[in-house]
């Protein structure tokens, strides 16, 4: 037998998925590789496996969500796990049972993985510290949304081969976006050149320190880009506080073919959804089958979540603390 030591599994040390920041490149690549395998699997007629048979996954959402929750639910079911969905109003956490009480209650039911979305940055981490099972961050405030970044990276990788050397522009409400932050981290980890483009009121101070070049002019920022990621702009930000109006936002920051002409001719358009057509993106661009990979992102979402759940929910349970 050869003396070559068996390669160590970079995912062996992964207990939770709370953030992309701090993730090793090998871990990211291993997750993407694993997810890639689930893409074909999900396209087959029989989508069910038993890799998580007998395991329990709880989707604990303190913020309403349709697509992310459905995506996690489908991923868990395809792996054979039992899935419970809990939607809890964040307001009740603020005035009644605390977040930690909720965590302790759920912990007593011995789930294998908790998928948590919360409107406050850092809330998922706080909860993760109190439970024994694996915790997957389904989005916390304006902090991180790690599975979104992974599914975006998978989408890009399958289209462009690799991420190294690609120029990626993330456009829109950077200040309030967890999608932007997770993507900035992951794209940097995978060797892409990252730009952010936004009105100055939606660029958080010091964003450059995260490894991006910031632009306030869309055409300048899109110059030579391989990937254009649009972000959703919340309606309440458009009423004269951060941005004067929808029409002004669309004029200067909405992605239309005129602005897109600054990017590379084969640039791909991405959006985490749900889209505000006519606000951050022109319908014609969003539905451009040659450029838009927005629906593909949704498909990759299930594959990525299957990969992450397989790794984290499939472990032997820890001894109770």
């Amino acid at each position: 037998m050869s003396a070559t030591p068996a390669p160590t599994d970079p995912l062996a040390s992964l207990r939770d998925l709370l953030a992309i920041a701090g993730m090793a490149p090998e871990q990211a690549i291993a997750l993407l590789d694993k997810a890639d395998g689930y893409v074909e699997h999900s396209r087959a007629a029989d989508k069910k496996t038993d890799r998580l048979a007998g395991r329990t996954v709880v989707n604990l959402f303190f913020e309403s969500s349709t697509r992310t929750r459905t995506s996690f639910e489908l991923a868990a079911q395809r792996l054979g796990a039992d899935v419970i969905n809990m939607e809890v109003a964040w307001s009740s956490i603020k005035k009644g049972e605390t977040l930690i009480d909720t965590a302790m209650t759920l912990n007593a039911m011995h789930p294998d993985a908790l998928v948590v979305r919360a409107p406050d940055s850092g809330a998922v981490k706080l909860l993760a510290d109190k439970v024994n099972c694996a915790v997957l961050n389904g989005g916390d405030g304006a902090h991180e949304h790690p599975t979104q970044a992974l599914l975006d990276a998978l989408t890009i990788r399958r289209r462009k081969g690799e991420l190294r050397g690609l120029r990626v522009a993330i456009c829109g409400d950077i200040a309030h976006s967890r999608v932007a932050r997770s993507n900035i981290h992951l794209l940097n980890i995978l060797g892409a050149e990252v730009r952010v483009i936004a009105p100055p009121t939606l660029l958080p101070p010091g964003i450059e320190t995260l490894g991006v070049e910031a632009f306030t002019d869309m055409r300048a920022g899109l110059q030579g880009c391989d990937i254009v990621m649009m972000l959703r702009l919340q309606m309440e930000r458009m009423q004269g506080h951060y941005v004067p109006s929808i029409r002004e936002y669309f004029r200067f920051y909405g992605l239309d073919h005129a602005k897109l002409a600054s990017a590379k001719p084969d640039a791909l358009i991405m959006h985490p959804g749900p889209m505000n057509r006519g606000v951050e993106i022109d319908t014609v661009v969003a539905d451009d089958i040659d450029r838009s990979v927005i629906r593909e992102q949704v498909e990759m979402g299930v594959a990525v979540r299957m990969a992450v759940l397989e790794v984290l929910a499939g472990r032997a349970p820890e001894a109770p603390a």
Partner: protein
């Protein structure tokens, strides 16, 4: 007196040519063709005047870029009984002003593209001085939601301001300054903290004696200090004016030394008058910020002379009898300033405070640069906006004979020196002294 034929080639000869932007003060002339300056300077006509040129012999008078008034309230739309774009245009032309940037405090407020279009159309029809408009910072100048600074900039707004008031909310001003950087737009603030500036005249012994509630210079200083902080925080372009307190000049001087993107203006009342002008409850001397002390007046004048203050604006605010013939505290604020802007400012030259080119700079290239206007210079290719004036000819200000609609100015019987002989916009004479004398 507007002439509807296309101006041909005109040679302004026998003139003292003053172009503050390039420090030019020389005997010579200016040549214009159509609406454009061909050249200006000494020895321009040494080889003779071009054959096709009409000669305007300036008779040894000064010729300078037309004056740019960066801050004036014009009353139209909504307050046409106080001033119209036409009445203001005639008044401004008589005083050598070729460009005005009007404030958005009209009815309706200039806070959308339609408001800008209206002013532009009325100015085109009037065909006198060029009239630009500031857009409001907030919708309706109500202090709530930011206006469409990008679309308004694209539609020609030269600056953004609440005009006769100011942005109170620090968070809002922070966002506006920040947002405006994407469009290179300047935010102009009248420096008074409204929560503190509740009185009706400068606070001090005189206000106390008159039994009037005072308005402390600290209201001005704290607003400037706060706004400078916000400019530093956002990298935004901030313009402060009118500046009236001596300490304000010092604050701005230090901010400029720190390389903040800040500019400042004042207005002639603060260069000429003190709180004493309030005298016996004279409402014509009620203005915001209020007239201050002699020490403040001197410091502000020195700031104009040394360039700490970049511009002198008329801060024209026409008020009719109904607004002024009231008890002092009930009367409206404001001084009609178009027709005295030049002569009162030139007083700084006559009393030795500043040099002629320096003072003229604050009326020409200074304000033009703040607003990004192609004006205020005698550069070849620039618009032929010119003022011919006699810097020494004395006259006595008589507000009752003002051409503008309102006569609210506390300058009656002030003797000034400096008479405008001819005002030219895009090569067209819009005022000549002879025409005024005949009127």
């Amino acid at each position: 007196m507007s002439v509807d034929v296309e101006p041909g080639t005109v040679a302004y000869t026998n003139a003292r040519v003053l172009d503050p932007a390039r420090g030019l003060d020389a005997y010579g002339g200016v040549l214009t063709r159509g609406g454009t300056i061909v050249d200006a300077g000494a020895n321009l006509f040494a080889g003779g005047v071009p054959d096709d040129a009409t000669v305007v012999d300036c008779g040894g008078a000064c010729i300078a870029p037309g004056f740019v008034d960066m801050q004036a309230l014009l009353g139209e739309p909504g307050h046409e009984h106080k001033e119209t774009i036409h009445s203001a245009g005639v008044a401004a032309a008589s005083a050598g002003i070729t460009s005005i940037a009007c404030l958005p405090n009209t009815d309706p407020v200039i806070d959308d593209e339609a408001g800008l279009e209206f002013v532009a159309r009325r100015a085109r029809e009037t065909k006198l001085v060029k009239v630009y408009a500031h857009g409001a910072v907030t919708r309706g100048c109500a202090g709530g939601e930011m206006t469409e600074i990008g679309l308004l900039s694209a539609a020609g707004a030269v600056g953004f301001t609440e005009g006769v008031t100011q942005v109170r909310d620090a968070g809002l001003l922070r966002r506006a300054l920040s947002y405006a950087t994407a469009f290179g737009a300047v935010i102009c603030q009248r420096p008074e903290e409204p929560a503190i500036a509740s009185g009706s005249m400068n606070s001090g012994a005189l206000a106390t004696r008159l039994g009037l509630k005072g308005r402390s210079r600290h209201a001005e200083l704290m607003m400037i200090e706060r706004d400078l902080r916000l400019a530093e925080m956002t990298g935004g372009r901030l313009h402060i004016g009118p500046v009236t307190a001596g300490e304000s000049v010092e604050l701005i001087r230090r901010a400029k030394a720190r390389r903040l993107r800040v500019t400042a203006a004042t207005a002639p009342p603060y260069l000429v008058l003190t709180e004493d002008a309030v005298g016996d409850y004279r409402t014509f001397a009620k203005v915001s910020p209020p007239l201050r002390t002699e020490a403040d007046r001197r410091a502000v004048a020195a700031g104009v002379a040394d360039g700490t203050i970049d511009a002198v604006a008329s801060d024209h605010n026409p008020q009719d009898q109904d607004s002024k013939r009231l008890p002092f505290e009930a009367a409206d604020e404001g001084i009609a300033g178009l027709e005295t802007l030049f002569a009162l400012t030139l007083g700084l030259v006559h009393d030795g405070t500043g040099g002629l080119l320096d003072v003229l700079h604050r009326l020409t290239a200074g304000p033009a640069d703040i607003l990004g206007l192609d004006a205020g210079r005698l550069t070849p290719g620039a618009p032929a906006d010119l003022t011919v004036f006699d810097p020494d000819a004395p006259w006595v200000i008589d507000p009752d004979s003002f051409i503008g609609k309102c006569k609210n100015a506390p300058f009656e019987n002030h003797t000034v020196r400096g008479t405008v002989l001819r005002t030219v916009v895009d090569g067209r004479p819009i005022h000549t002294a002879a025409a005024r004398d005949a009127a």
